[in-house]
């Protein structure tokens, strides 16, 4: 589900002339982000705590089942064990204390610590998200540039239609379509899972199995993981590639109207140089600022796409937890995704400040 993201404060108006003092402004905004980060993370824990406490589902009933909930002694013991008989602020304090010690609760469906299960699943999702992001940029940016350079041509219209379809496409429908066509009909990609069950997984170093396999000197395993990764990564990559293509096209169209392009034309530079060298740089920057926001959509899309394609990440874990109403797992998974999302956005903005040539120039 991709909506054209609202212009972030980091987005740059391409038509605005270069101005001194931008660096100061960006520094201030990054400093502000760093100061508010702890409050944001604290707010997220409070939000997840409140959702799990105030909503109708009774944790004791959820944990003990309806039969267990009839037994008052068991309910009292459960409440005492998890501190549910204490005042709310104290419960929140206990919850925070547990979180800081890496205790995300116990899964109701598997009776295992949620933290362990999420730690095992998260690298798979990160691997998928990074692969999907790379595909989306490689597909989206050239399409957007070509469409803008040949504005109103047949090519522009066709990509316009295709990308509109792409941004309107729910990930789960495209995943199904891809599973039908690429796996069941054509057999071009590997099916469910992350690795052929007959292959030994490489020793975990980074958690990203493609890289771990290469580090272990087993390129065949890396290739097999890649073969499994293609299906979910292409699905998410195509959807977000469509989004990037639309963003790049519209910023390029604006950039091509800019004064510096007129100057370049006046100097007699060829259209290719103007598009490829001048306007391209201007259009790329606002696009890169959207990369962080895209991660949120990627994590959300991973829930359905991982489920359909059998990729064993946080998304599939969340799906299983949600369908079994395994609250500790759902709440912890949401918190993990939320924290990862906030941190990724912060990192992207920091890198973006480094990469913006106008910051360098001033």
């Amino acid at each position: 589900m991709v909506t054209p993201a609202p212009a972030d404060e980091a987005a740059v108006d391409t038509r605005r002339p270069l101005r001194r003092g931008r660096r100061g402004g960006r520094r201030r905004s990054i400093a502000r982000r760093l100061v508010t980060l702890p409050f944001l993370l604290l707010g997220m824990t409070l939000l997840m705590f409140l959702i799990s406490r105030f909503l109708p589902a009774d944790p004791a009933v959820a944990f003990l089942g309806n039969n267990g909930a009839d037994n008052q002694q068991a309910v009292d013991a459960f409440n005492a064990r998890y501190g549910l008989d204490r005042p709310l602020w104290e419960q929140y304090w206990i919850y925070l204390d547990r979180l800081l010690h890496g205790d995300l609760g116990t899964s109701i469906s598997t009776s295992r610590p949620v933290a362990d299960e999420l730690a095992a699943a998260f690298p798979a999702t990160l691997e998928l998200a990074v692969a999907a992001l790379l595909i989306s940029l490689v597909v989206g940016i050239p399409l957007g540039i070509l469409a803008a350079a040949r504005r109103s041509s047949l090519f522009d219209r066709l990509t316009g239609g295709a990308t509109l379809l792409g941004v309107s496409m729910p990930p789960f429908v495209l995943a199904l379509l891809a599973l039908q066509v690429l796996y069941l009909q054509l057999g071009w990609v590997a099916g469910p899972g992350r690795l052929d069950p007959f292959l030994d997984p490489p020793p975990t170093v980074t958690g990203l199995m493609t890289i771990d396999a290469l580090l272990a000197g087993r390129p065949a395993v890396a290739l097999d993981v890649l073969h499994h990764l293609v299906l979910p990564a292409v699905v998410l990559g195509v959807i977000h590639g469509a989004f990037f293509a639309r963003v790049v096209r519209s910023t390029m169209v604006d950039a091509l109207r800019g004064d510096f392009v007129r100057t370049a034309r006046g100097k007699g530079l060829s259209g290719r140089v103007i598009v490829g060298r001048h306007a391209f740089r201007f259009a790329l920057i606002p696009t890169l600022s959207l990369v962080g926001l895209t991660f949120g959509e990627l994590f959300a899309g991973a829930i359905t796409v991982e489920t359909i394609t059998g990729w064993p990440g946080v998304g599939r874990y969340m799906y299983n937890a949600a369908t079994k109403l395994d609250f500790p797992a759902v709440m912890a998974g949401t918190l993990l995704i939320g924290i990862a999302y906030v941190l990724v956005n912060l990192i992207v903005d920091l890198l973006y400040g480094v990469a913006d040539p106008r910051v360098e120039a001033s």
């Binding site: 941004v167 359909i308 998974g333």
Partner: protein, 278 residues
């Protein structure tokens, strides 16, 4: 007291101008019509014919049958009766919560503004669908919890929008004139500011229909919205995933959903280009 509404763009903002917009509107209208007429034009979506399980599309069943031998075409047509109202309800609820909160925050300012906007920031800082999933799971799987969960993550958009509108409008001459005539703050907000903010809010709400419908169908796909055997596009896709060899059972409801969202976006992309609404 006269209200010079003509100073704001007004609802003619929504009038389609391009052929693409007309196509989008026609598809939307067609789906609405089909959903309304579904009981008249199609067979019973719940009738099971166990002998005809997982039949490929044929003359008798143009979209085939599902794993219980139900006619997929009838279920797709009836599915619109669940999917589309859920999308509308989500947008309505998010607007009804977000607009008053945002408008009040922008009008009163002070601690109320601060409190509302910080909560909005927090909700917008999380991936929307993931948070909605958590809320829906905690509320228990049902149509209403899916609607509430998605509206709970969408209202901050409207709060921000309404607040921004109020902040700009309160500086406009006709609002100042209104205040000069001795109208109370509540009157100014209710009779002058809000009607002038309405067109832009309506536009955003209409454009959000696609996203909201998609989000609702996704929660149903995840088993947290519409429950079986009620036909709903997302839920139908979810059930059909278990029988991948019967592609028709999952792809037809999937395409129905995509066509509706494409139609909304086709209607809306003109506004994107003008920089309106987002």
């Amino acid at each position: 007291m006269t209200r010079p509404v003509e100073s704001a763009p007004g609802l003619r903002l929504l009038r389609p101008v391009s052929p693409a917009q007309w196509v989008g509107l026609s598809i939307i209208a067609a789906w609405v019509l089909l959903a309304v007429l579904a009981p008249l034009v199609s067979a019973d979506p719940l009738a099971q014919q166990t002998a005809d399980r997982l039949q490929a599309p044929s003359f008798a069943h143009p979209f085939g049958t599902d794993q219980l031998g139900r006619d997929v075409l009838s279920r797709v047509l009836h599915g619109g009766r669940a999917t589309l109202p859920i999308g509308v309800s989500i947008v309505l609820l998010a607007t009804l919560v977000g607009v008053p909160l945002g408008a009040l925050a922008g009008f009163v300012r002070g601690w109320l503004d601060e409190a509302v906007m910080r909560v909005a920031d927090l909700l917008l800082a999380l991936p929307a669908l993931v948070l909605a999933l958590a809320i829906a799971a905690a509320l228990g799987p049902s149509v209403s919890s899916a609607v509430i969960a998605i509206a709970a993550v969408m209202w901050p958009r409207y709060a921000r929008l309404a607040r921004g509108q109020v902040l700009t409008l309160r500086q406009r001459e006709f609002v100042l004139a209104d205040r000069a005539t001795g109208a109370s703050p509540a009157q100014v907000l209710w009779q002058t500011v809000l009607p002038n903010a309405a067109p832009v809010v309506t536009l955003v709400a209409v454009l959000d229909l696609g996203t909201a419908t998609l989000a609702g169908a996704t929660l149903s796909f995840l088993g947290l919205g519409v429950q079986p055997p009620t036909p709903e596009w997302g839920a139908m896709v979810s059930t059909a995933v278990q029988t991948p060899e019967a592609w028709w059972a999952s792809l037809f409801p999937g395409f129905a959903l995509v066509s509706f969202v494409v139609a909304v976006n086709l209607y809306g992309q003109v506004f994107d280009r003008k920089g309106l609404g987002r």
